[in-house]
Symmetry: C2
Subunit: 385 residues, 2 copies
């Protein structure tokens, strides 16, 4: 792990140099887990040169080099000086994640130090995975596929979407899913979403690909609807088996769906396979989105692509410690794909009278192409067979 953390540290420092900061102070769970390899409550201080220091509030009893216990951030400057480190002139903080209150408290501690919002820079760093991180996402994808293969076993006629979801959640947990669904920004979901019938067209406050009524307290996904003949069931759960997430969506049905539904499902597969031809280092995210939209439009399905009541303007997103890492494969995104990015591609359609159809898979971007990590059949599975 030491070598792995050295690689991540080098990547963070490369970005720090680009930003012209001489130190970075991490305090969010996600970035501390990324940079330190495990979670503590406190601050991870990274000078652009020299040894990083872990300023730990909790847990008690950590041993190791360069661990200093503190009770409050006001101790940081004196502790840095006692450690022989100069105070930084320009300090990177996670300004789009830490609260305004915490930022102001640190600004008071580091009077005269210029603070810089590094959230987006750190997200960029995390968007390109090390080989070890890729191996964790690959393991998540494999476990995810094993769990999804067992989905037909837990279906019972007359079930509601909630009851079905509970059994699928259990399958995922039995395969080792940790449960936590980590996101960037103000989005919440339990382990994922399951959408059947009309519920697929219900707009959500969250920026997921599709919505669903969910509950008042968490308006996303299953809404207590019975699984009925002729309806599709889209299952989109986060694959958090290793702390690194893959993303995988498959469509199921109760009996036969309409021709239109099968056609749209095939267009989703076609879009994904066409994008696979284009995805490699240097591909422009916006171009991939536009290509997907053109294919949906050419198939006469523009009106139900990525929703109906509310249409998402993206077809994919990075995955990693959170479900929505960079890049976003979206309208107006000039981001370029890079080798060792891991992205989920999810062209989806909402078909009136049926529900949602389509597929989502997770891919590893390579220099000259990409690899699908979620190796599972694409077909709509009829649960009554």
């Amino acid at each position: 792990m030491t070598q792995e953390l050295s690689k991540r540290l080098a990547k963070i420092r490369e970005q720090m140099v680009l930003c012209g900061v001489d130190a970075c102070l991490l305090s969010t769970t996600v970035n501390i887990l990324y940079a330190n390899g495990s979670i503590f409550s406190g601050y991870y201080y990274i000078p652009v040169e020299g040894t990083p220091i872990r300023f730990v509030k909790r847990p008690a009893g950590l041993n190791g080099e360069n661990i200093l216990y503190i009770r409050k951030p006001e101790q940081l400057p004196e502790q840095l000086l006692e450690s022989g480190l100069p105070l930084p002139e320009k300090l990177m903080l996670e300004g789009d994640e830490m609260s305004h209150g915490d930022w102001m408290r640190l600004q008071a501690c580091f009077a005269g130090v210029e603070l810089m919002n590094g959230t987006n820079d750190l997200r960029k760093v995390r968007s390109i995975k090390t080989d070890y991180e890729v191996s964790l996402i690959r393991s998540s994808a494999e476990a995810h596929v094993r769990a999804y293969k067992r989905i037909p076993d837990v279906y019972r006629p007359g079930m509601t979407d909630n009851a079905f979801s509970i059994e699928i959640e259990r399958l995922m947990r039995l395969e080792g899913n940790l449960g936590l669904f980590r996101t960037f920004g103000d989005m919440e979901a339990f382990m994922g979403s399951i959408l059947t019938g009309e519920n697929a067209s219900v707009a959500s406050p969250y920026d997921f690909a599709l919505g669903g009524a969910g509950t008042v307290s968490n308006p996303i996904g299953a809404a207590g609807l019975e699984l009925l003949p002729g309806k599709s069931i889209m299952i989109d759960m986060a694959g958090n088996f290793t702390g690194y997430l893959d993303d995988l969506t498959r469509t199921f049905s109760i009996g036969k769906l309409t021709e239109q539904a099968y056609k749209a499902h095939q267009v989703s597969i076609d879009i994904q396979q066409r994008l696979m031809e284009e995805m490699k280092e240097g591909a422009v995210c916006e171009d991939l989105w536009e290509l997907s939209l053109k294919m949906a439009t050419d198939a006469g399905l523009a009106d139900c692509y990525m929703g109906t009541t509310q249409q998402a303007k993206f077809v994919g997103h990075g995955v990693g410690i959170v479900i929505n890492e960079l890049p976003v494969i979206a309208t107006r995104s000039r981001d370029l794909l890079k080798a060792n990015m891991t992205v989920a591609i999810e062209p989806k359609f909402v078909i009136e009278g049926v529900g949602a159809v389509g597929v989502e898979d997770t891919f590893l971007i390579e220099k000259n192409g990409c690899e699908r990590l979620t190796k599972l059949d694409y077909d709509i599975v009829d649960l009554t067979k």
Copy 2:
């Protein structure tokens, strides 16, 4: 629901007047759910007088009075003026919850307006429940009790803590638990924690009552340990059945535990029952904590009260939309209990060679006393019987 929301609005406005602000702009999921009764992405603007306005980004298609769609916060001032509302002189924001980046963006939108951090004030408002909110917590507590009663049914010899947890999670979900474990601050857990044997003494980075190794990615609770004879199993899951959480912990065992363990468990019950006599409007939180600590000390159990490696300095906390609402029943907390607060009381001990013992229940504070909402036997249940 209209009447209920009017009550909540009046409570928020009372606090706004105390703070001397003429408007409040809510943007976090928790406070929008509280004030609006449902979640949207955007801003809920509350002038100290007149009609609140919902500025909605998502979901599409909301109908109702005083709903204005916006794409970005920069539209807020012009939209307020177009609605005939003056710009505020002093505006309350959720400064300890919203990101620094979001705060700065709003500050730029509202140039010249004094911004005020209202996070703690809004938490104070939420700490005193309306009767309807109490009814939701009561419903959660009842469902929680039903699920816990079935725990012995899903135990199988040779299980690990993880396998046992998965079956208990399923029981909770089948009773209607929404799964989401909402917290204030940087704490994360899946549906709750289960601690057996030595794992109970593992210190956690999070500020929960007890820890447990969990996983690298979520260091809390179950750690893949087999459930062994002579060990306790403490089950502490969040009761989110209605969007409002209760909290309930019970202790189980594999066969017989040591005398010391049963004695400590009884001290936990004694502490809780003694606190029940003291809990009513006007009780001082610190005094309740000190009383609990004195009872633990008198029983010769101070060294293992609320942990060993790392000892929590609180015995209870408010519950509501998040698991850790105000007040905190903790050292140095001069907060007073008030009628219609809902608090969980969790005196716990970690016994060497056995694991954690103790109970946690959720109480409604009343003018002259309190009511236990989680009506379940206190005894340690031997799962092998």
